[in-house]
């Protein structure tokens, strides 16, 4: 009896699946019910048998108050929702919309839990499970001060974008809900995963729903834009894959074990020219996504063709995947190569991003294209901050990522509002809208100010920190000052192109008779815009809410990069080797050394354990050392 009961407890997922399969379908005969139930149960059994035997890997002891499955829940909920969505009836769009909004809001509320934990150095909510042990691939998700705000931005923006989409899109709701949920899961996965394989899977997965969103609900030239978006990003990511495979290969040669874990791979110190090639493989993939000049040409097309909701997500979150990944993986894995290239890249960010983006933006006559190019300019600041690599500039860059998400998301929303009413976005069609749409005008002006970076709004703090950090950057050397001055000039250009648009659209005489009876913001649009406007001022007036939570993580990251830089310089073109803590802390001593060692330990929490090399190999290794 007990044995039977035990077996039943072991097999509970299969039994549950069988029951669901048998009971859920409507109106089949008893036999069909039994058949479906058995198939469902067997399927789950099959998956259970395939599941790697090694149960939970030695999970690092989590500090109290952190539920270790929170991040898995954040990613898993929308993913499960997306799969469930496939089995929902297409005929009741109301139900589908409600379900999607419900899931996204639950995700938002759950993500607020992240704020309750003091974010110091190191990882929180770490969750590690073996996935494909043969290759050392693990489910490794964790959050730290650098990813915290991007995760929150994602859970904050997606419900807004979904809410807006439900207002303006009336066809194929089921596909829309599926895409939104899948996109949410993939984006969160990108920001949270620390296993590079997992990261790559989510990175690619995010492409598919966005591709669908542009391709299905886009405007006239949507297919070309969707394809361009997909191929650009995929072209970048195969380079990433090649570099990643090389890194994993080197790691397995050095340690004898395989791992795709970021915390394992960042111990590999490659010789200079190899490191440079791997760095470019990673960097190009991320620069395409950012997008950095000259890889930015997909962005205006994608934005112009995408529906409003898609544009909001694309600008606010998807582009941040590139900046975040460059910061975390591009700089984290190859600090030396990233540092060597930073002066050049900063020049590209200033001229190709900030200045060129602003000038292009100035000359656009399509509102959405204008905002798209302004994105290129804004992301120029973000990237400049990363390239400069000082504490202030990196924190500013992190803040600017959030700012851009809020203000550009809002701008796209606002452009969508006017497009829904007039079905055109050409600037010359408008003029004098302030008379017919006063509330809309006020909101638009506020967001414009935020986008330009007027003090008191969020944009100011981020840009100011980036420019200040750039000025004193050691990495950029004598170019630091020039870059800072030119970047500051970019702010003026931003004012020119944004204010001239405001001038042409909202003020002046109301010439076009079609604009005479435009209704002002409706309830749905107001509800969607309100949180964004609030965030503009919250961040603008109390930036330390954000900065205090990311400061420790950024400074630790910057310190580690500096230490690895020194080791890499020592290595030069030598054989690849593993970085150890002793190697990193060579120059330090006393309490400073202890503090740094503690920080490094914190940053390694959850890293895969490297087993000691087998005894037979040891003498050989020793001999090698001796011969050196």
């Amino acid at each position: 009896m007990n044995a039977t009961l035990g077996a039943m407890i072991d097999l509970w997922p299969a039994i549950l699946a069988g029951a669901v399969g048998a009971l859920v379908p409507r109106k089949p005969s008893t036999w069909q019910r039994a058949g479906i139930g058995v198939i469902a149960a067997l399927l789950v059994l099959f998956v259970m048998k395939l599941w790697p035997d090694a149960a939970v890997a030695a999970a690092p002891s989590a500090p109290s108050g952190e539920w270790p499955h929170l991040l898995t829940f954040l990613i898993g909920l929308p993913l499960a929702g997306a799969i469930l969505m496939l089995f929902m009836p297409r005929q009741s769009p109301g139900l589908l919309r409600a379900m999607t909004m419900g899931i996204l809001l639950v995700d938002l509320v759950a993500s607020l839990w992240l704020l309750t934990v003091p974010m110091g150095v190191g990882w929180h909510f770490v969750s590690v499970h073996d996935w494909i042990p043969a290759l050392g691939i693990r489910w490794h998700v964790a959050v730290d001060g650098m990813s915290l705000w991007l995760v929150l931005l994602t859970t904050f923006i997606t419900p807004i974008a979904a809410y807006v989409s439900f207002g303006s899109i009336g066809t194929r709701i089921k596909d829309l809900c599926f895409s939104l949920l899948l996109l949410q899961a993939a984006m969160l996965g990108v920001f949270l995963s620390l296993d590079m394989f997992l990261f790559y899977v989510f990175w690619e997965l995010a492409l598919v729903p966005m591709y669908v969103m542009i391709g299905v609900w886009g405007s006239a030239d949507k297919i070309k834009a969707a394809l361009k978006f997909f191929l650009y990003t995929m072209g970048g990511s195969v380079l990433l894959l090649a570099a990643l495979l090389y890194l994993v290969h080197t790691y397995s040669k050095l340690t004898g074990t395989m791992s795709f874990d970021y915390l394992a791979l960042n111990k590999v110190l490659l010789p200079k020219h190899v490191q440079m090639m791997c760095f470019w493989g990673f960097a190009i993939a991320f620069f395409v996504k950012v997008p950095l000049f000259p890889l930015h040409t997909w962005l205006p097309d994608a934005h112009v063709q995408a529906p409003t909701g898609g544009s909001i997500i694309l600008a606010a979150i998807l582009l941040k995947m590139g900046t975040y990944a460059y910061m975390r993986f591009g700089m984290g894995l190859f600090p030396f190569a990233a540092g060597l290239q930073s002066a050049t890249l900063a020049g590209v960010a200033v001229f190709g991003g900030i200045l060129y983006g602003a000038l292009c933006s100035w000359k656009q006559d399509d509102l959405k294209r204008l905002v798209a190019y302004s994105s290129v300019a804004h992301l120029g600041y973000v990237m400049l901050g990363l390239f400069a690599g000082t504490q202030a500039s990196m924190q500013g860059s992190l803040l600017q990522q959030i700012n851009h998400g809020v203000s550009t998301g809002a701008l796209f929303l606002l452009v969508g509002v006017i497009y829904d009413r007039r079905h055109t976005r050409t600037i010359t069609e408008f003029g004098g809208l302030a008379k017919v749409m006063p509330v809309y005008t006020v909101v638009f002006v506020i967001i414009t100010m935020a986008s330009i970076g007027v003090p008191g709004t969020n944009g100011f703090v981020g840009e100011f920190m980036v420019i200040m950090g750039t000025y004193g950057s050691l990495r950029l050397g004598k170019f630091g000052g020039v870059d800072a001055v030119l970047a500051a000039a970019g702010v003026i250009l931003a004012a020119i192109y944004m204010l001239s648009v405001v001038q042409r659209v909202f003020f002046g005489p109301l010439k076009n008779p079609k604009n005479r009876d435009l209704p002002d913001l409706n309830v749905r649009e107001t509800l969607a815009l309100a949180p964004l406007v609030i965030m503009v001022f919250v961040i603008g007036l109390f930036p330390s809410v954000l900065l205090s939570r990311s400061a420790a993580a950024v400074s630790a990251f910057e310190m580690r990069n500096r230490l690895v830089w020194m080791s890499a310089q020592e290595l030069g073109e030598g054989e690849p080797k593993l970085v150890t803590q002793d190697m990193l802390l060579e120059g330090a001593s006393g309490s400073a050394r202890e503090g740094m060692a503690n920080t490094l330990d914190e940053m390694d929490r959850g890293a895969p354990v490297i087993p000691p090399p087998p005894a037979a190999d040891k003498p050989a290794a020793d001999k090698k050392e001796a011969s050196k």
Binding site: L50, Y200, V201, I223, M234, L241, L245, Y246, S252
Partner: protein
Amino acid sequence: MSANLLLGLSPILIVSLGALLLMMAEALSKLRNEARESPSSSLAMGSAVVLASGGVASLALWLQGPDNLMEARAALAPWLLIDRFSLFFFVILTLGAFLTVLLAGGYLPEHKLDRGEFYPLVLLSTAGAMALAAAGDLLTMFIGLEVMSLGVYAMVAFRRGSPRSVEAAMKYFLLGSFAAALLLYGGALLYGATGKTDFSSISFQLAHTGYANPTNLQQLAWENSTPLMVIGLILVVIGLAFKISAVPFHMWTPDAYEGAPTPATTFMAGAVKAGAFAMMIRVLMMAFGDVRSASWGSGWPPVLAALAVATMTVGNLIAGRQESVKRMLAYSSITHAGYMLVGVVAMAGTARAEANGAVLFYTLIYTISTVGAFGALILCGSRGAEAVSYEDLAGLGKRNPAVALALSLFIFSLAGIPPTAGFFAKLYLFKAAVSGDYIVLTVIALINTVIGAYYYLRVLVFMYFREPLPGAPIAKPMKSGHVAIALVFAALLVLALGILPSKTLQAALSSTISG
């Protein structure tokens, strides 16, 4: 004949005896009223059962371990080698054929090609492919190859009323015979050079004649036979490259694939290619796996690498220009052969075991995905309204979401997009190539993956983003339980192996050739 011997041979025996039985059944069933009952329905199920039991037998032998079959192995060697490598390929082959007969069970009645010969042909051909995968001797290799090919020639010509089908079969037959002749000639030269026909002896000769303390006479004999060896090897490689349709020996592929009834195409793209790859790996690794022949400087790897690059690139570029989906899939199968060749080249490098596992795993996944893709294409069309061109698929996502979803899944797997099995297979294959220090080759393969994404995505574009032009002929999805079962089965495998590849991967890794 001992029980152990029967056990060791059981996978091949089950399939070939099943073929004979079904042939009898088919002949006798001529007595019944064909208008009332389709011969396909019972034959398809029958051959599916036979193939499934063949697959289960191979799987059981694999799990039990060939080491317990010493008696059988000793009796069969060197003609047939029952090792984990061949057993793994048996599973792939029977799986591919199993799905094929299910597809045929739906396709043939729908398109009024309902003649029972198809099923015994598939079974016999599969038996030939299995013999090919297990062959350890040039003679058994040739017999296996011919048994496999003859069945396929007949299958290509199955739509005998259609000039297109007949032309395709004729082309395939002529070129195929030509390649077989080259292979045979190469084998004859190898025999002339070494005096042996089995792979391990050839390899022994290669390793031990030559320069290790030879007498003058041996030295002379070796030097005289070297040109024969080289020409023999070249001819054998060409013969095999023809079967896997590597560029520039691929000209027959698109025509044959397009002209043949789709289940036959499926079989050619899946099982036949897998069998040929098994043979290629076995010949190169066993007979020419010695240090000199398998080194980059003096052996076959650079030749194969050049073939791989040409195959991937040309296949991809032409696939992108096709207007017919079936033809696109044909070219894409050429491209995939190129990726697999990268793995074969990597087997000559330092990471041999890893590359071996990667190629085996890739072959398995490729077979499932490509069979699934052709199967979904079958389900998209019906009699008189077959899905052939991209235009036919326009708006399918709306008309029939389930079929469109299935096709997209297999297309994603072929394109290598996570979380499908195709992504993981590619990743592991390229990882093995990097481990073998073939970095340039890997980068070329990766770039080709991106080019490939373009034409795979076009299928999705037409299915989901385009509406059919008014008045244009559109494909009407057919209804068939057989095809649906095959697709559900393949789809589950593609997802399960993509998300949880660990155990299968380990199985592939341990499926090495034992000499």
